[in-house]
């Protein structure tokens, strides 16, 4: 039963990793931009939530109603005011600029919030659990996170394949110059993609802060998890990203059980093995 428990925990953590990764996958898909600051933006959302929680005394899940729109707006402004100027045939400028952004965010957070470990108060949710059978219980909070990941991915899938904005995303992703000739303002489309990406990041950041402690330096670590989930799942596939997150989560928890203290290593090793066996990921896009 211990092992079943470990696998279930792993799957649920995978939901959080999928939320880390979805935004990264989305903007890479739409504009081929690798956002090195992605992890730090997750941590920024955690701190933003912390500041509001301690200021207003609300529950973090309610504060989501503020953090998500704020990060959405930050995403739009960031893309319109900065990142759009870095996009072009050369892939290096966006990498360098987002790397710089990562350092700026880390140091700004350090300056404002200090290096202390923080945690978002989850209240009764922290310990609430559901007994499934004798000896097997799952936490309510991890279940909420996992359900959120599924809703977000299903929602994005709908947005991409069933709406006009989704067509614009896919057209711009295929050929930005031609998309402009079809009346699509790609600067606006890119900004919307980044805004949606950061709205998902806001969710991920708040859930991260409720689950574990965080400090300004943990962003790059989250970025690695996000990368691994995206690559395992296959670039451009949102459901693949969820599968990638789950595989990573299960590897970490089961690995940690087998070799205590080696949970992160186990995740990386499984990632490397999958990279060797299936370099294009589990669910690669058919056309590329």
């Amino acid at each position: 039963m211990d092992w079943v428990n470990a696998v279930i925990q792993g799957i649920l953590v995978g939901g959080l990793y999928a939320l880390f990764a979805t935004g990264l996958s989305l903007i890479f898909g739409v504009m081929r931009l690798v956002n090195i600051a992605h992890g730090d933006l997750i941590v920024l959302s955690s701190f933003l939530c912390l500041a509001i929680v301690s200021g207003l005394g609300l529950h973090p899940l309610i504060v989501l109603l503020i953090v998500v729109p704020v990060m959405f707006a930050i995403g739009y402004a960031l893309q319109r005011g900065l990142l759009n100027f870095t996009l072009g045939p050369d892939i290096l400028p966006p990498l360098l600029v987002t790397f710089g952004l990562s350092i700026v965010i880390q140091n700004a957070l350090l300056e404002i919030f200090s290096a202390d470990s923080q945690k978002l108060p989850a209240g009764a949710l922290q310990t609430a659990s559901l007994q499934i059978v004798e000896g097997l219980a799952v936490g309510v909070f991890p279940l909420i996170v996992f359900a959120c990941a599924i809703v977000v991915i299903a929602g994005l899938q709908f947005l991409f394949y069933r709406t006009a904005l989704g067509s614009a995303f896919r057209a711009t992703s295929d050929d930005p110059d031609t998309a402009r000739l079809m009346g699509i303002d790609n600067r606006h489309i890119f900004a919307l993609a980044m805004a949606i990406s950061l709205a998902v990041v806001a969710l991920a950041g708040v859930f991260l802060g409720m689950r574990t402690s965080f400090d300004p330096s943990i962003g790059p670590g989250r970025l690695i998890y996000a990368f691994e989930a995206v690559i395992i799942g296959g670039l451009g596939s949102l459901w693949g990203t969820l599968a990638g997150g789950i595989i990573l989560g299960v590897s970490q928890i089961v690995g940690g059980k087998l070799f205590p203290g080696a949970d992160q290593l186990a995740g990386h090793v499984v990632f490397l093995i999958l990279l060797v066996v299936r370099p294009r990921g589990l669910f690669p896009r058919a056309v590329d």
Partner: protein
């Protein structure tokens, strides 16, 4: 009334001047042909009109308004449609979705109102049977037709066609000429760059000749084709 005007447009890439002090106009409802040797600056001319390239100097006017500084997507929304010489379909989307994108964003209508017009355009361009095929799996002729169909979906007032007949068989070419005539009869002005002269001459009212970025002739198609300068450029014979 002129629909498109270029006033003294100039464009260079480094020391290479591809368009030099270029002025032209297109009247409403007119079909204008553009010929010239490879590298003469014909496609650059289109890029200047659609907004893909900004001129170094000079002005571009559409429907009486100066559009020189307007971004490409705005020009599309005002009614400038274009097909590429090398087809650029959105390969990850179906043929119908390719058209929908142009229709929804080029006209600003909600997508649900675009289904009918898009289906009509597919019918007219002979692609209706391929509506749900991924654009990436189309043949060359179908891709060329998709270029035309997608440009039409944005409901243009002016259509810029860049060597759309190139690489087609004689029969395919004739069918395409019929389609283009039909589009024109629907009130769309046309500028057509083409090397296949007989196809071009069967459609256009006026012909422009470009060489080394300069307009060297402009007038009645047959007169222009028989002029010594054109003979010189195309046949390589010197005018006595």
């Amino acid at each position: 009334m002129p629909q498109i005007e270029l006033h003294n447009a100039r464009k260079s890439f480094g020391s290479l001047v591809v368009t030099d002090d270029f002025s032209m106009h297109l009247d409403e409802g007119e079909a204008l042909g553009v010929i010239g040797p490879n590298g003469a600056g014909k496609t650059t001319l289109f890029n200047l009109i659609t907004g893909g390239l900004a001129p170094d100097s000079g002005r571009i006017v559409f429907d009486g308004a100066d559009i020189t500084a307007l971004p490409a997507h705005e020009r599309c929304r005002r009614g400038i449609g274009r097909s590429y010489q090398i087809p650029h379909p959105f390969i990850g989307m179906t043929v119908f979705e390719n058209l929908l994108v142009g229709a929804a964003f080029g006209t600003g209508k909600p997508e649900s109102q675009c289904y009918g017009p898009c289906a009509e355009i597919l019918e007219k361009t002979g692609l209706i049977g391929k509506a749900n095929t991924l654009a990436g799996s189309l043949s060359l002729l179908e891709r060329k037709r998709l270029e035309l169909a997608r440009a039409l979906a944005s409901d243009p007032k002016v259509l810029l066609l860049d060597e759309i007949a190139g690489g087609l068989t004689e029969e395919e070419c004739l069918a395409l000429v019929d389609t283009i005539r039909e589009i024109r009869a629907g009130g769309v002005s046309i500028v057509w760059i083409e090397h296949i002269v007989h196809a071009l001459l069967s459609v256009v009212d006026r012909l422009i000749v470009i060489n080394f970025g300069v307009k060297i002739d402009d007038g009645d198609p047959h007169t222009v084709m028989n002029s010594t300068q054109v003979q010189e450029i195309y046949m390589g014979i010197s005018a006595e």
